[in-house]
């Protein structure tokens, strides 16, 4: 009988190699730590460990930075620093919900589109993606928010409904490529139903792409929220950096910059760190650098 000695050749997969490479990327690790710090802050707000007093009036109008109010107070006398910290929670909430759902939706629709490419399903989905991409983003979002006026998730829904197309196209392209691979043919030959093939064999092999896309969407969501809140179409209850910046437009004219600075700096910090994290993640997952 033909017997072979079974010693594992190598115990590495895409993920373990990626983890190894990522750990050696200093900038990537630093940005990851930074993002985790922000996440910790957001968590703390959710559990009310801090910044639960963000709407309390605790000082006079436009006080300068002091030991009590690290960034001073705003027009009404609320502590700017607390408000900025509270906004971190909002940012993460918006970012995570939108990133998760938009990427997930894009993955499923993109996979179906790619698997049945050149058929009517694909044509319809491509058409829908095309239409959504052609509408100017803020007009579209504004219209949805306006139409869903009282719904606190109007902004989230609006963002998800346009952001999913990027993930959709990426996954579609990848699926078209994977579809021709022999393990997919093998599944056909065994008689595995087509939808099962998509979800069991193909989609799991796109997760590295989806992860990177999710991080990009996260950042896009936060930035969009800032502008939408600034335009009054964003967050309604609660506080966000966008709302703070909106508030500060008048203040800046009067020479008071603290509000603006607090919100901008924190936002800049998160976006910058997350972007660098996303870059490092992409490099670590790059299959060409993985033998």
């Amino acid at each position: 009988m033909n017997s072979v000695s079974i010693k594992p050749v190598r115990r590495e997969s895409l993920w373990s190699k990626a983890a190894y490479k990522f750990r050696r990327d200093r900038i990537g690790m630093a940005s990851f730590v930074f993002v985790m710090l922000y996440m910790l802050v957001a968590l703390g707000v959710t559990f009310e460990w801090w910044a639960s007093d963000w709407s309390d009036v605790s000082g006079g109008k436009w006080e300068a930075a002091s030991a009590l109010h690290w960034f001073g107070t705003n027009l009404i006398g609320q502590d700017i620093f607390s408000r900025a910290i509270y906004s971190t929670k909002t940012a993460f909430e918006v970012g995570l919900v939108v990133a998760f759902i938009a990427t997930g939706l894009g993955a499923v629709l993109g996979a179906i589109s790619g698997f049945f490419s050149s058929s009517w399903i694909d044509e319809i989905l491509l058409w829908v993606m095309g239409v959504l991409d052609s509408i100017p983003f803020y007009l579209f979002v504004g219209a949805i928010v306006f139409a869903m006026q009282d719904n606190p998730y109007a902004m989230h829904i609006a963002m998800i409904s346009t952001f999913w197309t990027s993930a959709g196209r990426l996954v579609r392209g990848e699926v078209i490529k994977l579809r021709g691979l022999e393990y997919v043919e093998a599944a056909h030959a065994i008689g595995v139903p087509e939808l099962t093939i998509i979800f069991r064999h193909i989609l799991p092999n796109t997760t590295h792409i989806l992860l990177v896309q999710a991080t990009i969407t996260f950042v896009a969501a936060i930035k969009s929220e800032v502008i939408l809140s600034f335009l009054g179409l964003g967050v309604k209850d609660g506080m966000s950096w966008g709302l703070m910046i909106a508030e500060s437009t008048q203040e800046v004219l009067a020479g008071f910059f603290n509000n603006f600075l607090a919100a901008s700096l924190l936002m800049f910090g998160l976006v910058m760190a997350f972007n660098m994290f996303a870059d490092a993640l992409q490099d670590a997952l790059d299959p060409r650098k993985v033998a």
Partner: protein, 329 residues
């Protein structure tokens, strides 16, 4: 046709597979790639037909078309007398149990995110064979059949070498206890010292389980060991078909003769006069009129340019040796 074809496990009749080429603004079909252009043969239970040819001859497409991984354009594929091309998708699933496939590329033929156990178990799950406990035993049995121990079941494909992955692929193909397996260049991507190991395994499985094979390869040396009969393909057609010893002893078709002479023999003392072909293979989009080989054939005659040569049996009824060539017409 084969005198015993009423017992043939698999019979292919005039199978064609054309791929449309789209062009123009409105994406209309401007041309057809004639990958398989009228192929007929039959394989009896437990026998192996080796299909040999160079790239672009259509052999891989033929293998997939028989399994309906590509839908044939026309023709018939009879399994125990029943034409499976007419079946609808859900009726086809039953036949999937009997016809399986092994692929060339050991790195692309196993799903990278699934363990060995999951890969081998999948056909059993889809066809609901036995109980869950039975299936686990079956996986161990199948691994043993291909010479691998039970300890590999929780590993992932990337942890194995090419030869080992091929064995896993073979175990998967055996899971449903098929009667017929299409082996598409199963050893071409392996190191030479491992090729014989896998060929021995396939020959042994064939003997022990009586599986019929369609063994596709570009390598006449590889195919000799496992085949009972050999078909030579060129530009979508079978140009010669004979029992394995007959073909190697007396190849009749000019293309087969070229193919045999072109193979480098690992023996420096044999001096052979090689027949060197001129030019390149014509495109399957515009195959030549008449005999597909006439553009490169040194013995081409006037009739070869206009008429497709009929298939003639230059052997006898017991040992047919079929050639499609005007030299024997």
């Amino acid at each position: 046709m084969n005198a015993r074809d009423h017992t043939a496990l698999l019979e292919v009749r005039d199978l064609k597979k054309y791929f449309p080429v789209y062009g123009g603004i409105f994406q209309r079909t401007v041309a057809q790639v004639r990958a398989v252009d009228g192929v007929s043969f039959s394989i009896n239970k437990g026998r192996t037909l080796g299909l040999v040819g160079e790239s672009g001859c259509g052999k891989s497409t033929l293998g997939r078309a028989i399994l309906r991984l590509h839908e044939p354009t026309s023709g018939q594929v009879l399994v125990d007398g029943q034409d499976i091309l007419g079946l609808r998708r859900n009726q086809l699933v039953e036949n999937r149990r009997r016809l399986q496939i092994i692929f060339q590329d050991p790195f692309a033929s196993l799903s990278p995110r699934r363990t060995v156990a999951q890969i081998i178990r999948e056909p059993l799950d889809v066809h609901r064979i036995g109980t869950s406990a039975n299936r686990e035993c079956r996986i161990i049995e199948l691994l043993a059949d291909v010479g691998m121990g039970a300890e590999v079941r929780d590993r992932y494909p990337h942890e194995f070498s090419g030869g080992q992955r091929q064995r896993i692929g073979i175990a998967r193909a055996l899971a449903l206890d098929p009667d017929f397996i299409v082996a598409d260049e199963p050893v071409s991507a392996l190191d030479v010292s491992v090729q014989s190991q896998v060929l021995n395994l396939i020959a042994e499985l064939k003997r022990k389980r009586g599986i019929a094979f369609l063994f596709i390869s570009h390598d006449l040396a590889v195919i000799q060991h496992v085949s009972d009969e050999i078909g030579v393909m060129y530009l979508g057609r079978i140009v010669e078909q004979a029992a394995v010893n007959d073909l190697y002893a007396r190849p009749r078709h000019p293309y087969t003769q070229v193919l045999m002479s072109a193979i480098p023999v690992p023996d420096p003392t044999t001096k052979r006069s090689r027949i060197i072909l001129e030019g390149d293979v014509p495109s399957p989009m515009h195959p030549p009129n008449g005999c597909p080989f006439h553009t490169r054939c040194v013995q081409a005659m006037a009739v070869c340019k206009t008429t497709v040569p009929p298939i003639v049996n230059v052997g006898d009824a017991a040992n047919p040796h079929r050639v499609s060539c005007h030299l024997y017409n």
